[in-house]
């Protein structure tokens, strides 16, 4: 019997359960926590494409997360003050529509990933980790040295962007959008993983020489994966800025990149619902221990150590057993 289906169903419903429970017990803050879980899970699902399937340990995905956040912040600011972003050659104004913001986030992050990926993917292993970190740091310093959009102070998002048919100003309305985005992200991950592209990508992780020896060039496969991965993470970034009503440079920090990797390892690398499991656990630890002690990260470190030493497959691996490869 394959236990991964019931485990996945439970994990998929967990954020909804927390949000509904929060409403039932009149604890609105937990709706925010559930929303945070959904957004971080989406960001990590993006990274899971590159890291989990392709074995590309990007230590720079915070850059794409931040690009999404700044896209949301910049577009919303311009929309509020009705200032065009560009006046020449065509006039482009701001927008407070989520789909439009996401489109911009996805395109910009995709282009940046294409450029940085084309260079980073010429290396592998530790060098890849370091070069993705270096690119992300460059983008981070670019953001804090750009006074027009807040510089080091970050950029506040004056009003939360809107989504057709949903009142995103209410916590549950916004949660619904984020959770919907997460489900779409997880579905995209599942479809890609099962496809020919996904097969080639997973083979690139397992044995690049084998992939090349059957006639598939690993570089292009990995580059496309890196770009798609960045795009998903960017959408999460846009939602994160909307959640906090703030696009902070810290979204682009290396600590953020590290957190995304931690989420994946906690949840189960390459597993469909690994990022969800990781995000739920991470946000709960952060909330429960973070309230009690300043040193909550110490406990997170211990848990991470436990997972790496005793449960390599993360939480999903622990609950559902090993993945099946057909």
């Amino acid at each position: 019997m394959n236990r991964s289906i019931p485990v996945n169903v439970v994990l998929a419903l967990l954020p909804v359960g927390i949000a509904l429970g929060a409403v039932a017990f009149d604890e609105p803050f937990f709706v925010t926590l559930a929303t945070r879980m959904a957004i971080l899970a989406l960001a990590a699902t993006g990274l899971n494409l590159a890291l989990g399937l392709g074995g590309l340990v990007s230590f720079g995905h915070a850059a794409f997360f931040g690009i999404g956040g700044y896209a949301a912040g910049i577009l919303a600011t311009h929309a509020l003050y009705m200032q065009p972003i560009l006046t020449w050659p065509v006039e482009i104004g701001g927008t407070d529509s989520m789909p439009a913001i996401w489109l911009v986030a996805v395109v910009v992050a995709g282009l940046v990933a294409l450029g940085t990926g084309a260079i980073s993917l010429r290396t592998s292993g530790v060098y890849f980790i370091m070069i993705t970190l270096a690119f992300a740091q460059m983008i981070y310093y670019f953001a804090i040295s750009w006074p027009a959009y807040g510089g080091e102070d970050g950029l506040s998002v004056p009003t939360r962007a809107v989504f057709p048919g949903v009142n995103t100003a209410t916590p549950m309305g916004f949660f619904a959008v984020c959770y919907g985005a997460l489900l779409v992200g997880v579905t995209i991950f599942a479809i890609l993983r099962a496809s020919r592209f996904g097969a080639a990508l997973q083979a690139a992780r397992q044995n690049e020489t084998r992939l090349a020896a059957v006639g598939i060039a690993p570089f292009r496969i990995k580059l496309v994966a890196f770009v798609l991965s960045a795009m998903l993470t960017a959408v999460a970034g846009a939602l994160f800025a909307d959640l906090n009503r703030f696009a902070s440079p810290s979204m682009m920090s290396w600590q953020m990149s590290g957190e995304l990797i931690v989420l994946i390892i906690l949840g189960g690398t390459g597993r469909l619902f690994g990022p969800v499991a990781g995000a739920v656990l991470f946000v709960l630890i952060e909330h429960l221990l973070g309230g009690a002690t300043e040193r909550w990260q110490l406990f997170l470190g211990l848990i991470l150590l436990g997972v790496v030493l005793f449960a390599r497959g993360g939480m999903v691996g622990l609950l559902a057993g090993k993945p099946r490869h057909g």
Partner: protein, 250 residues
């Protein structure tokens, strides 16, 4: 005589001071098995790596089906029909045997940039992959992870992958190694039939197999081809006997 399908011309490769390939020229003709023999460390694998595109030669030229492929990568040469196996088997270890072969079928069919249809429900990938597993005799192990296959099964899987690519020429690096006498015999029969489909450049230490199979043999010693000819010519060549064959030649 028709042009050879594979022509290696004046290939040279050094690792530091070590000359691993020393001005090697050899041909693979249509329909033949050309065996490459030589002592350990003679440079056989290094030569296969250069022909397949895993290693760049320092100098020389490789022509495949009339085209210069010296500048092409491993994946480009594979797509143009040059299939190889590895001396130390090189597989996607987490994937099942079937999925390893399906990857080759997928490559042969064209683009891997197909993002929607699940491979495990794609009969156009599964059926040809099962058929080659059947041919090499490991169809019953199709759903076993490559990491859990026996040594001999992995060797067969490597050959199945090369078959699934519909290769126009095969480069096999010691396919018999560690197969056991029964396995070697089976594989000998198999390769004997395979040469009709595509010629084989066969690196092998198992002299019974080489003498049974080879149309021609080249002997590599210290990176250099010291002799090349038919089985009988090589068996009676005094220099070859001294350098390598010794007790095998009787």
């Amino acid at each position: 005589m028709a042009d050879p399908i594979l022509a290696i011309r004046n290939l040279n490769k050094s690792f530091g001071a070590l000359k691993a390939t020393d001005d090697v020229s050899l041909d693979l003709r249509h329909g033949e098995i050309h065996a490459l023999i030589g002592p350990n460390g003679a440079g056989k694998t290094t030569l296969i790596h250069q022909i397949s595109g895993s290693l760049k030669p320092d100098a020389g030229r490789i022509e495949f089906m009339g085209a210069d492929v010296t500048g092409l990568s491993l994946s480009q040469r594979a797509r143009s029909g040059l299939g190889r196996s590895f001396q130390i088997s090189s597989l996607a270890l987490e994937f099942s045997a079937l999925r390893n072969v399906m990857l080759a079928v997928q490559s042969y069919q064209g683009s891997s940039f197909r993002f929607f249809k699940p491979v495990m429900r794609d009969a156009s990938l599964i059926d040809p992959a099962m058929a080659v597993l059947e041919r090499v005799g490991i169809a019953d192990r199709a759903h076993v992870a490559a990491s859990e296959l026996s040594h001999g099964e992995r060797r067969k899987l490597e050959i199945a992958i090369a078959l699934a690519m519909k290769s126009r020429a095969f480069l096999f690096d010691e396919p018999m190694a560690g197969m056991g006498p029964e396995g070697s015999k089976q594989l000998t029969t198999f390769l004997d039939e395979l040469r009709g489909e595509a010629p084989i450049l066969l690196v092998e230490h198992d002299m019974d197999a080489v003498f049974a199979l080879a149309d021609r043999i080249s002997v590599l010693v210290y990176g250099r081809v010291i002799a090349s000819g038919t089985v009988d010519e090589i068996r009676s060549d005094p220099e070859v006997r001294r350098a390598y064959l010794g007790e095998h030649a009787e």
